[in-house]
């Protein structure tokens, strides 16, 4: 009997050891230690304030730190109603992202992994991360802000909970971070591109800010994106749409024209150009652009035809006016 109980104890020990060691590998940290191709070995971000976290409020606290760094002066208490879920005693990733946009900043989720994190830190951008301080089957989700990484000293520093400078071995951090799928969020002013920016994800992030009506910031961000990707169709259309929404028709026309010139097969570019020209009163040129969009067709063809119909409704009047001299 005693023998059997010992076997149970041994089994418990074995299971515990297996569970704990199951996530013990840290390949990315090992790679970072082995090479310096991720940039400089020490990266430090300055200008990130510290807000000690109230109970369960690590989401609002981390956001306030990152937003303040980006130039938006807010406190965790102000952000709490934007992200905190009382019954979950925490904040969802999606709402963290949404709150950044509400505060007119670009929310960019980095490509999962230590290389992106190191690159962003090296570029001077703090990163809000989600880590699981517990185990995969007993999660303790926690937001913190990475402000310092020293690969040589094997140390990462975070604004976390009650600690202004929580230092953690890189390997331990990787383990806790891996359980969130390496989720990292940048909170950037519109004139600052992520070091690891990719065209589509970045423009999607800007379009979401545009959709919330932060037009001035969206316009700056589209300019920022176009500096990096001058041929981006979505970038030009986004800039045009933002200008159009701001009733700056000349700016909109210019952007759509660049889009149409560089992407002559884009019906959207011609459609939006046509609408803008019509609004400016250039009906002949508007008709030409709208005809071009209709000719290009595609899944948006019904909208293109509507645009054309809207313009010809005006030109009908104009052409009758034009005909009058002929009858003289």
């Amino acid at each position: 009997m005693v023998f059997r109980m010992h076997r149970v104890a041994a089994a418990i020990f074995a299971v515990t050891a297996a569970v704990l060691s199951g996530c013990a590998t840290t390949p990315q940290t090992d790679r970072a230690r082995a090479s310096t191709r991720f940039g400089s070995e020490t990266s430090r971000v300055s200008g990130v304030p510290f807000f000690p976290q109230k109970a369960f409020q690590c989401g609002p606290a981390s956001l306030a730190e990152a937003l303040s760094w980006s130039g938006v002066q807010v406190t965790p208490d102000q952000l709490s109603p934007e992200v905190y879920l009382p019954k979950r005693r925490g904040s969802l990733q999606a709402e963290m992202v949404a709150a950044v946009r509400r505060n007119a900043r670009i929310a960019y989720v980095i490509r999962p992994g230590l290389p992106s994190l190191l690159q962003e830190l090296a570029a001077g951008n703090p990163v809000v991360i989600l880590e699981n301080l517990g185990l995969s089957w007993y999660p303790v989700w926690h937001y913190a802000v990475v402000v310092d990484i020293n690969v040589n000293a094997d140390m990462i520093t975070l604004r976390s909970g009650d600690f202004a400078r929580q230092r953690m071995p890189l390997g331990l951090f990787e383990r806790t971070w891996a359980r969130s799928g390496y989720w990292g969020l940048l909170v950037l002013p519109p004139d600052r591109l992520p070091a690891t920016a990719e065209e589509r994800p970045y423009l999607k992030a800007v379009a979401a800010v545009e959709a919330l009506g932060h037009l001035r910031q969206a316009r700056i961000a589209y300019h920022t994106a176009l500096k990096r990707w001058p041929d981006s169709l979505a970038g030009q259309i986004g800039l045009g749409n933002t200008c159009y929404a701001m009733k700056d028709l000349r700016c909109a026309e210019a952007a759509y024209r660049v889009a149409a010139t560089r992407h002559p097969d884009s019906g959207i570019a011609y459609n939006n150009l046509a609408q803008t020209l019509a609004d400016e009163g250039h009906l002949t040129r508007a008709t030409a652009a709208a005809l071009r969009a209709v000719a290009l067709g595609g899944p948006l063809a019904p909208t293109f035809r509507k645009t054309l119909a809207g313009i010809t409704a005006h030109t009908g009047v104009v052409s009758r006016n034009d005909r009058r001299p002929d009858h003289r």
Partner: protein, 139 residues
């Protein structure tokens, strides 16, 4: 039966009205300018666009309901839902109670878990008798 029919017909009338209003809203708000989101989305508008719009509309309602049930202030909930993109709404709908919510709430529970494990272990070893589901061996 009459009541039921009346209820369903008024609900469907309301829904039709909603959808029509959405259509008008989209059409009038921005002349015929095609939005940046459309350029970036892989599935372009058209027939499927209408269906996607209806789906997004319903999912948004669901997320709103879930957020309210999670204790979000009713005066805040509209702005919170509106701040989400359609893709985010699709991600959240029906999953808000399961997705990670960063809050570092574990400490208290974690201590509870450890106490439970210790007592379970001592129960199994025969030192304590806290849990009736642990089979006791006559010794």
């Amino acid at each position: 039966m009459e009541n039921f029919r009346f209820a369903t017909s008024s609900i469907s009338r309301f829904l039709i009205l909603c959808l029509v209003c959405m259509g008008i809203h989209v059409a009038s708000a921005r002349a015929q300018i095609i939005g940046t989101g459309t350029v970036l989305s892989s599935q372009m508008a058209g027939v499927s666009g209408n269906r996607a719009r209806v789906k997004a509309f319903l999912q948004r309602k669901e997320v709103r309901k879930e957020l309210l049930s999670m204790g979000v202030d009713p005066t805040e909930v509209t702005t919170r839902v509106n701040s989400l993109t359609n893709a985010q709404v699709a991600d959240l709908a029906g999953r808000i109670s399961k997705l990670p919510a960063g809050g570092d709430f574990g400490t208290v529970l974690f201590i509870g878990l450890i106490v439970f494990l210790v007592l379970l272990y001592t129960d199994i070893m025969g030192y304590t008798d806290v849990f009736p589901f642990v089979k006791k061996h006559a010794s």
